[in-house]
Symmetry: C2
């Protein structure tokens, strides 16, 4: 049992940890943060909420909740090719228990330190557990990766191994411990290094939060193009048979899907990249398997 | 009854309204927004959450919830002397009902248009009703109003009529309709014009969200000073007897409290300003009434 804490004490004790970035003029503790955006760059801003029981299973460790809440936002910055700089945390929780908060702050700090992003402000409120993070970064003008810039003839690539988070979640919901893939669900790795390597060179990009088929569909719609997808090329590293539904409809992997001019060499990156299809002029997503076209539902995670 | 909506349709239908600002390069609809901060200014960022039943009474109109969620954030920008530019909305709601969303978007748009701020991104999730907004603005370097800059000998001023929101809330919780002050609770006016008029000239500022005594106490602690407060000077415009507890401990007014070098003339503003005390070297807040020092609890709204 740990005692409840006043908001100010709570913030001071648990959320004053981040190593100071030189571009933070005033961080946590005033009415707002004062930040110095790099001259000549665009500001990149995004915001995502995780709700207990919906975006993570009840009983998820506090450190993992914090990690994931930051990771999904850094993933959005990665999908724009941005450099991550700062974030704000809005934390709603039923009670301010010291041990839970210490674990939460620890998870947050671990990922923040990995990418040198600094917590600069936020709010703590009492209510049903949920975490909203706003991430801020920057990108040189004209180099951001947008959804709407795919071109006919582009190769389509995906990073990592989409589907593994869905396998973990299915196993947990069935009473298991995550089938050895719990970390893929709880601690996704935002692909910031990859996003920055792609910027100014890849044509379009999106991060896979709601499922490869659905998120690729958003990219195609935004770019007013279609695509052929080679199901046999989809990456898979599990020993069990390939689970196409997990790969195509499973969310929560936070890999990047991007389109790339075929004549260019791929950049060196810290993550596996796999060519999975090609952008075509005709709208829609056409899936191929063993040389035949097959029907694949383009649904994924539904927010409502 | 209105049908539930998919997230994408929901965003497209209700949250694509804002008049495009020229400093928004890419708004709602991609992985993140692309914004152009003004050269030579600091970025100002803050984030506040409203939880149903805690920060607004259950049954509050959707338009009022939206207004207040944006207002409390714009108020934080005002307290820094910033110009408001953009905001992100994280909306968690039990069901995506079209009529509720339409009202919510309407209230949001009303206040956003008044201050020419643009919705540039966010997230909609399913869960217990809560609203988190991140507001972004800018201020010329060196001109931000901080809590820690009060100087001994400064006059202390407050804008408007703190305490009216608390009177409204007390009446509603007692079954009334807000004692004619419902709008002061539901639709606070962020003092952006005042904040900008003060910047570079006032020494320290804070917005009153948790009660005048408590928030002024934060300013004093941050500045490592104390103050004398003249209770007889506290502004009050109601016909009923002055309610000192409402003025000093009532939250939710979002007026500004600031310290000002006494030799300078006050700026012309759109809101009443009242001198209520003076900054002193000795720590602590001393309250005076009818020439005698009186004890006043410095508590206010407690988040936990």
């Amino acid at each position: 049992m740990s005692a409840p804490l006043a908001e100010f004490e709570l913030i001071r004790r648990y959320f004053s940890f981040a190593a100071p970035r030189p571009d933070v003029c005033l961080g946590v503790g005033d009415d707002a943060a004062l930040l110095r955006p790099p001259p000549g760059e665009q500001l990149v801003a995004c915001c995502d909420t995780l709700v207990a029981g919906r975006h993570f299973p009840f009983g998820t460790a506090a450190a993992d909740i914090a990690w994931k809440a930051l990771a999904v936002n850094l993933s959005d910055l990665a999908a724009m090719g941005a450099q991550a700089r700062w974030f704000l945390l809005a934390l709603t929780l039923p009670t301010a228990a010291a041990d839970w908060l210490q674990d939460f702050a620890g998870g947050l700090r671990q990922l923040a330190d990995q990418h040198a992003v600094q917590l600069v402000g936020g709010d703590t409120t009492r209510g049903p557990l949920s975490v909203t993070i706003t991430a801020l970064g920057s990108v040189p003008v004209g180099q951001a990766l947008c959804r709407a810039a795919a071109q006919v003839g582009d190769d389509i690539y995906v990073s990592g191994y989409p589907g593994e988070a869905a396998l973990a979640l299915a196993d947990i919901l069935a009473g298991g411990d995550g089938a050895g893939l719990r970390e893929r669900l709880d601690r996704p790795q935002p692909r910031l290094q990859l996003g920055q390597a792609l910027r100014g060179r890849a044509h379009a990009a999106i991060d896979i939060s709601d499922g490869l088929a659905q998120d690729l569909g958003h990219l195609l719609s935004a770019s007013q193009v279609g695509a052929s997808l080679d199901l046999d090329a989809l990456p898979w590293r599990q020993e069990r048979p390939r689970d196409l539904a997990a790969i195509l409809q499973g969310g929560d992997d936070y890999e990047l899907c991007f389109t790339w001019p075929p004549e260019q060499a791929l950049p060196a990156t810290d993550v596996a990249l796999q060519r999975i299809g090609r952008i075509e002029a005709r709208a829609g997503l056409r899936c191929w398997q063993g040389g035949r076209q097959v029907d694949v539902p383009q649904t994924g995670y539904q927010h409502f």
